[in-house]
Symmetry: D4
Subunit: 239 residues, 8 copies
Amino acid sequence: MSAHKGADASLASIANLDFDRASRRGAPEAILCDAKSTDQLVRIARAIRERSGDTGTAPALATLFTRLDTDKAAALGEELPGFFFDEEASIGAWPASEPTLTGGLVTIACAGTSDLPVAREAELTARYLGRPTRLIPDIGIAGLHRLLERLPELRESACIIAVAGMDGALPTVIAGQVACPVVALPTSVGYGVAAGGISAALTMLSACAPGIGVVNIDNGYGAGHLAAQIARWAPRDTE
Amino acid sequence: MSAHKGADASLASIANLDFDRASRRGAPEAILCDAKSTDQLVRIARAIRERSGDTGTAPALATLFTRLDTDKAAALGEELPGFFFDEEASIGAWPASEPTLTGGLVTIACAGTSDLPVAREAELTARYLGRPTRLIPDIGIAGLHRLLERLPELRESACIIAVAGMDGALPTVIAGQVACPVVALPTSVGYGVAAGGISAALTMLSACAPGIGVVNIDNGYGAGHLAAQIARWAPRDTE
Amino acid sequence: MSAHKGADASLASIANLDFDRASRRGAPEAILCDAKSTDQLVRIARAIRERSGDTGTAPALATLFTRLDTDKAAALGEELPGFFFDEEASIGAWPASEPTLTGGLVTIACAGTSDLPVAREAELTARYLGRPTRLIPDIGIAGLHRLLERLPELRESACIIAVAGMDGALPTVIAGQVACPVVALPTSVGYGVAAGGISAALTMLSACAPGIGVVNIDNGYGAGHLAAQIARWAPRDTE
Amino acid sequence: MSAHKGADASLASIANLDFDRASRRGAPEAILCDAKSTDQLVRIARAIRERSGDTGTAPALATLFTRLDTDKAAALGEELPGFFFDEEASIGAWPASEPTLTGGLVTIACAGTSDLPVAREAELTARYLGRPTRLIPDIGIAGLHRLLERLPELRESACIIAVAGMDGALPTVIAGQVACPVVALPTSVGYGVAAGGISAALTMLSACAPGIGVVNIDNGYGAGHLAAQIARWAPRDTE
Amino acid sequence: MSAHKGADASLASIANLDFDRASRRGAPEAILCDAKSTDQLVRIARAIRERSGDTGTAPALATLFTRLDTDKAAALGEELPGFFFDEEASIGAWPASEPTLTGGLVTIACAGTSDLPVAREAELTARYLGRPTRLIPDIGIAGLHRLLERLPELRESACIIAVAGMDGALPTVIAGQVACPVVALPTSVGYGVAAGGISAALTMLSACAPGIGVVNIDNGYGAGHLAAQIARWAPRDTE
Amino acid sequence: MSAHKGADASLASIANLDFDRASRRGAPEAILCDAKSTDQLVRIARAIRERSGDTGTAPALATLFTRLDTDKAAALGEELPGFFFDEEASIGAWPASEPTLTGGLVTIACAGTSDLPVAREAELTARYLGRPTRLIPDIGIAGLHRLLERLPELRESACIIAVAGMDGALPTVIAGQVACPVVALPTSVGYGVAAGGISAALTMLSACAPGIGVVNIDNGYGAGHLAAQIARWAPRDTE
Amino acid sequence: MSAHKGADASLASIANLDFDRASRRGAPEAILCDAKSTDQLVRIARAIRERSGDTGTAPALATLFTRLDTDKAAALGEELPGFFFDEEASIGAWPASEPTLTGGLVTIACAGTSDLPVAREAELTARYLGRPTRLIPDIGIAGLHRLLERLPELRESACIIAVAGMDGALPTVIAGQVACPVVALPTSVGYGVAAGGISAALTMLSACAPGIGVVNIDNGYGAGHLAAQIARWAPRDTE
Amino acid sequence: MSAHKGADASLASIANLDFDRASRRGAPEAILCDAKSTDQLVRIARAIRERSGDTGTAPALATLFTRLDTDKAAALGEELPGFFFDEEASIGAWPASEPTLTGGLVTIACAGTSDLPVAREAELTARYLGRPTRLIPDIGIAGLHRLLERLPELRESACIIAVAGMDGALPTVIAGQVACPVVALPTSVGYGVAAGGISAALTMLSACAPGIGVVNIDNGYGAGHLAAQIARWAPRDTE
């Protein structure tokens, strides 16, 4: 390991950034921040900024920083000029500007008020990957009329992210009413047998209605990424 | 144990019938048949018939035999004159006649065709305990209009048994639309993470809508019994 | 979403109150407070108060606020005049006055002293939904005589909520002795294999005695709601 | 229930076909066959055929029959002229003709030979819903060169279904190399801690690479349906 | 391994009998038969018989053969003269004669008729290890009076084995009423969440009453062995 | 509930002390303190002291207070003169004096240093119930010679409590070497798959050696109580 | 896929043999047979034989066929001249001749007679990969002297495979006594909480003694392969 | 226990150091620190230092202190002159000097930046047991090129420790490409279904590629120990 020296070496000893990802996958790498130290994040941010200088142009799409708290966001803000940070969704982006929006509409449908932080992480991800988005809060199935009223809006979507904790039944009900794919996003909101979101995840995997793909519990980033990919080729209004 | 002799002794070595239950609980003991041998069941049947002769009158309510297969049912039929047996629901009853129906309506709402055997076990139990019943098949939430069309019928109920496997979301959706209690009956129908019904049971316990009591997976007897107790004091039409 | 403006818009972006629930289900919506921010709760409280002003009359039944801590309760108290708050049960109500009590008696039977907070949440819920209630503490089955002494009281009930953590065996023992339905309410009190209440919930679902409906662990609100529905039509004294 | 009479009544007592699904969801209902009796399936088949006669035209898309064994397939074949049946995939279709293929390519990538039946169920579903398909067998990650050789083909896809049991790592590896969405389909192939497929399902939900939606274990139908929806708007060749 | 020759060698390649156990532990080794082939059992039986001949005297205590089916028992019977076999308990013994009974009474209390095979395995084990025994069937807690009637008998015991499946609550209730230790023996009788006996085992470990030691599900042999050890020093009547 | 008044009433609303337990079970009730408030404990302590005054004599055996922290112990000390408290074992006793020691020796064998607090809770319990005790620390099976050196001491026991976390293998190894019963006490010490002690509990239930009864994870009180009962009739030295 | 033709094409549609594995990994691919049809296996066998003919020489190491039953073995025997098959271990090999044995000794230590089939699968795998082996049966820790007697033999090993079901404690005890690595191989032998081997696998992962690597339940092939790799560089006698 | 006196006695009451381990196992005992108090650790350190004085020479290999925090490390530093402490890896060593490095190279390959603390614990352990080591960070399989670039380095290893949380797929991919054994080390890094590392551990046990041994979650010490044993006899460069 003696070949690792200087500024680059200090990054190489902790991380191996996937700068190639944008060309390979159509979206740049995202940095999961909660299990990294502030020092590690700063070193990563510096490499991203330097890389940006190397190419002489800002990248087409922003690098996202997920599960980011306020303190670490402040430290990143000092390295990355104009850094974007959304506290509720615990997400950051650099450069801060959103790309031109293309493809079909991604709708984020939310079962309860408590699911909003994860839902917003999903929405911001899809938007930073270039899709138009709409968030519909609090249409859980315990009051079905709330969902039925929003059906016309839901049917305009190219992809719907259905976010729910507890019984996790929202994706099935929605998928049964629309023609587009549904990304099921379980949340850890809940208590008792629903604590941690496993119960919601199992419900979603067991859904009777086809057309549902499930992501990990609280994985708003993954849901937004998948939805952005799904809606990529769709027309703006699917009806 | 030397006090146990003769015909009675042979029963006492295997079972201790709870003849007192009808007066204590308002419903006679039921015999769970699948883990008992034919010989054990015959000895139990004989004791029930003799007891009936002792009191000189048929009991007000029939004794139920649950999880009963055709061969054991035939053996019971030889001991108990006019024995009732429903093969689909795997349930038997003696005496065969239903009691006068009183109290509110018990509706059994079924998510899918495959849930019917358990649903019918629940229906027959409620009926043999003296409640009027109605079974609504195949109104799973993947096609919501099927459920919405039956809402007026569901709202006539004093208690609804919602039967579902897989995602187990039916009880929540129904409970959100009605004023009466819902008994949630998970079934073991399903595969993958839904195999065995645990996933459905967890969904039901996690239901966002209040007003739901859950019973064990495939426990049609328990659901029917509970629903009959719940509907006992209700008027015939609850609307 | 640009149509959402002003005071109403600020609520619509986070919640979609189910004002219709009282007419549809016979009980108003309850607000689960632990995963909502104080700011979100205040916005919800304001909407409830304004709605009350709109109709010109106080609602027949209070809105309940569950899993509410002291700080949030204080904030709600500033929005909702005369707000009721019970710290032990972590429950609030507005308006504070209880409705006229009708229907059968709901008894809350408690296995141990540690189960009392959840038991009281259940009792207050049933009472705010209009049922007479009685709480019997500390009759766990390790000392059976304590339970047997209270049997006459238990038998006066139209519905019994049996609250227990650890082995969760109380509902079975009670259900075997009474004619009314039993709502089994597992608590997360316990340690080792009983930690979190899963063990108690499994025991209750596996109960040998029929006539038991199980709710989620620590779901005192759900148990009280279900019991209030069950006891709705029953006479005051069921014996 | 007395209103249910004649031929229609006999179906209504067991099933409630969702004839509306094609217009609502873009795909007709599929019949899950393993938990239905032959008699029930025959009644359902008759209703489908009669409905087809009613409208005077064959439906645009075939009705699929999943988890179908040879005996039940033979019985369906007598009701539905020209019935299609694939024994390996346990799937049937009526009418037998595939629709015109449109949209992007759906590739089914398979980790091992033992995953083929589920993979073929997914492929046939996507094809009967109108997408071009390609199946790539046995490219599990224990021999990475096999996968790397097929990368150009994988990159032509609008959606890839990655099928794997045991460690379930194939979807992550593929998703990291392509720009299109990946549907992760866990199979129950495996033994020890991998028995039943739960281990593979957990791996897939935990995937480090974004762009993956997971379906239930062995749910080839659900995977094919979702992939067909995802690839609907994509061009034939995505590169 | 070349030192292993002839008749003894053939045993040594599969088993290593613990002839020393009787002196070390006070009870001879027992042979678990269900996962051994008939050929393996015959070789083991021959070694036991030869060993008995070597010492010139029958051992003080019989060797037990557990989880033994009828076919294997017949094969053992040809090797071991006068071999004892109880088909219900699936247990064999050689020599067949019981030892002189000493120590306190071991009572086996059984929740339901279906628990009898495991209960009898426990009873026969305790008896072959030299304790007086008494089996009380079918005193499950759903009908508490059945248990209360037997309390005087239970209180005569030096150790009680409480056998139960489903909710597994019998040991707690009994332990709360007696002064002697209780061995809790969960059975796999049950369905739904109680299938396989895990639910019963968890209940027993979580028991609120102290004085309970739990053994593995369906381990009648282990329960009988432990109870025989516990009752070893006790007087014949403990009251 | 209006009959509950004054000092006694305030206790009755929270607890129902089992003063009868000493005569029924041979040991007084123990108070589990961790889920009770200081106020509740003080009320309970007052009732115990008053009861002691009522009878005019100190009870033969002390009341134990388990899972007791330092603050609550101080509060109890103000109510109960001479209150005994062991901080490491988190146990209290009143009256503080140990009873005359009778019966056989109870040995507490401990796998690791980290298991000591639970081991000491077990030891103090057995001692306050009147048995002589000996604690052997740190003889885990990763260094077998440490255990083998202590075999003579272990064989002097009438009952051994084997305490272990992580792999939980100590009870099996000990039980295979001794004639007395072994109480297996799993601890929550451990990490990874051993976190919380479930892994140790499963190992102990699966033990190949008979003669083992398992108690709940970290249940030192239960283990000590059971061991005291088991050793009650044994001679002081069992060899 | 139209490029796949003739004999090769028929294999390519189901499998993608990893002929390169021997050079890359030092051991050829093994064929897991239980989830493959006889027809699939015959096609694979033919390709292996043809490949062998292509190179003009027999491969240095045999291809192994694991989880192979008698019928499939017979079919393979017709394709592969001199095919080796061991029925107890369910393993086949072609060519049948063992390689020259090199490296250190691999000892397979077995807890019970019932673990022998898996132990023999491990032994044959290690031997066909070129290591000298020794199998020691039935030295489970319930009779520790049996293990202690074999310690000198165990200490001659370069790697020990410790095979155990039920409590799975054998690897810890052995690893604590030797200097070489231990491969822990859990088996599905067992019942109750030990059923399926999960309990044994958890115990082994939780082992207090370092120096243990765990493989999947019943994965004798994997254990033998790993042990052969570990012992590759060791001297014949490690003491 | 009266024989335990003075300084030694105070250690004997809490721990039983395995000074014999170095000669028996080739590596000295390690002290797991997180569940021991500072006082206990100081007493242990003193005994180790005194023992070292007794023998008159420093031991060949250092004693390791794992899961050690900064405060406890400071206390140990006062007892043990020149004590080595690595805060990131939470590991200490005394004496501080590394042994002469012998045997083959141990490579620690890390899936993500967050896995580094556990990876470094593994690396330091292997190095203090005398092996040359190399750590390769951040080569998770979501960006396969990062792993492929390091293949030549990986192939120089005598043993590879593959460290991963979340999907845990890294060990399988690596094992498929190299000839040496792979130690799979799951980490608790992750969220949702991957929380705590169980999902990663299951993936690793289910790995399709042979040649993998799994250790407990976050058990860097165990992985480093096992790898050091495996690489003991190997040449410095295995290619």
